[in-house]
């Protein structure tokens, strides 16, 4: 019994169908608890007032936006090395979700930045690298959409994902170099004394878990859809031949 067994679409479908209700339920519960707790039962920040509460959407979305790309990188590698179709389809399914998270992070950041920094947008390294990440997501999805043959599309997008990851990382450090930051440093890290106060940190943790599960749910659903679409196409092709 190894994880590679789920490269079999049938086994993947069976497992994901069983897992989906749990994933949906947990997502709803965690997001509801986290967001309600965060929005209504935490005090206002002494300096930022109630605008601080956007952190419960902004931070989890931003974290997931990066993690989704890393997941796509891993599944692309799996496709290149072992050629499991489910892996390639999972990467394809994840991209629009990742793009949405990126846009949420940018949008909530702008909404918070307007009252706090006095501007919707600043060419800060973090903001800029997120904008560049958005471009990478767009390019990746456009390439999937442009190629008809599914295997060719999977191959080329995987190569693009690998090369793009290197350049996304390069851009991340290049923009650091180019402008000094306005964005505050990380508010959550395991190895530091100075973190966000516990009052904010616990609901934030719940929200992050909720967003992660939301992503798992969406990817499972979308991968299932892709597999079904692929089966439908095969069926139609067979009927045309017969």
């Amino acid at each position: 019994m190894s994880i590679w067994e789920y490269a079999n679409p049938k086994k993947f479908m069976a497992l994901s169908t069983r897992a989906l209700p749990w994933a949906v339920g947990l997502t709803v519960v965690l997001l509801a608890v986290g967001l309600v707790w965060g929005f209504f039962f935490t005090p206002d920040d002494y300096k930022q007032g109630s605008t601080v509460k956007i952190i419960y959407l902004h931070v989890p979305a931003a974290m997931m936006a990066i993690n989704v790309w890393i997941m796509m990188l891993v599944t692309s590698l799996v496709w290149i090395v072992r050629r499991h179709h489910v892996s390639a389809l999972a990467a394809k399914a994840a991209a629009p979700v990742g793009l949405t998270f990126t846009l949420i992070a940018l949008l909530t950041g702008a909404l918070w930045g307007q009252p706090m920094w006095g501007t919707w947008w600043a060419w800060d390294p973090r903001l800029t690298s997120f904008l560049i990440l958005t471009l990478f997501y767009f390019g990746y999805m456009a390439l999937w959409a442009a190629i008809e043959d599914p295997d060719t599309a999977a191959d080329l997008t995987s190569i693009l994902c690998l090369v793009g990851s290197v350049f996304a990382l390069l851009s991340r450090y290049a923009v650091n170099f180019w402008n000094q930051g306005l964005h505050q440093g990380a508010s959550l890290s395991l190895d530091r004394q100075e973190n966000v106060s516990n009052v904010f940190w616990l609901p934030l943790l719940v929200c992050i878990a909720g967003f992660a599960l939301l992503f798992v749910t969406m990817v499972l659903l979308r991968t299932q859809t892709e597999i079904r679409a692929r089966r439908l196409k095969a069926l139609l092709a067979r009927e045309r031949v017969a």
Binding site: I132, L135, F136, F138, G139, A142, L143, A146, I147, T152, D155, L156, I159, L160, L162, V163, G164, F167, A168, L170, S171, A174, V175, F177, W178
Partner: protein
Amino acid sequence: MKALLLRDLRLAFRSGGGFGLGLAFFFLLSVLVPLGVGPEGGTLGRIAPGILWIGALLACLLSLDRIFALDHEDGSLDLLATAPIPLEAVVAVKALAHWLVTGLPLTLIAPGLAVFLNLPAAGYPWLILSLLLGTPALSAIGAFGAAITVGLRRGGLLLSLLVLPLYVPTLIFGGEVVRRGAEGMALGTPLALLAAISLGAAALLPFAAASAIRVNLR
């Protein structure tokens, strides 16, 4: 390999080969920017490094789809793929040819255009050096993008969508070198990083591009 390089260069210089188109575009851009921004020298001098680098980048982009598309159409790419030299070498040679007909001439005429843009005198040597070090990266990255889109009809638009984000680090370091040079600041770090990107791209991307071509020829 030498024969391939000479063949590509000859094809590029022949009429209809597209040589000079990128240069003309670069020239026009440098003339149009002052018309749009206004003739005030201080402003122009400040944005000159960025404009020149963006102009070089777009001029490069203009001719990218010719790297493989024409060879793909007439079938010579299939022959090159089955030739005794490895496909990686073919890609590297074609990227080199692209650089020789776009990157190098761009570098040579850039100082002339910098006059239009009122670049401060201290910036000129750094403009040439940064373009010399940076444009090979543009060609290598572009060859990779061209390799990915070679099998597509209407690949040109997609090509720019794929390649422009990959150009970001090169553009940042290139523009930074010239800007710092013009202001007389220390510029060793961005210059070294720019050279690193070019060397890294030239060394690694032919492998990615060759595997993309193999997929497209399948």
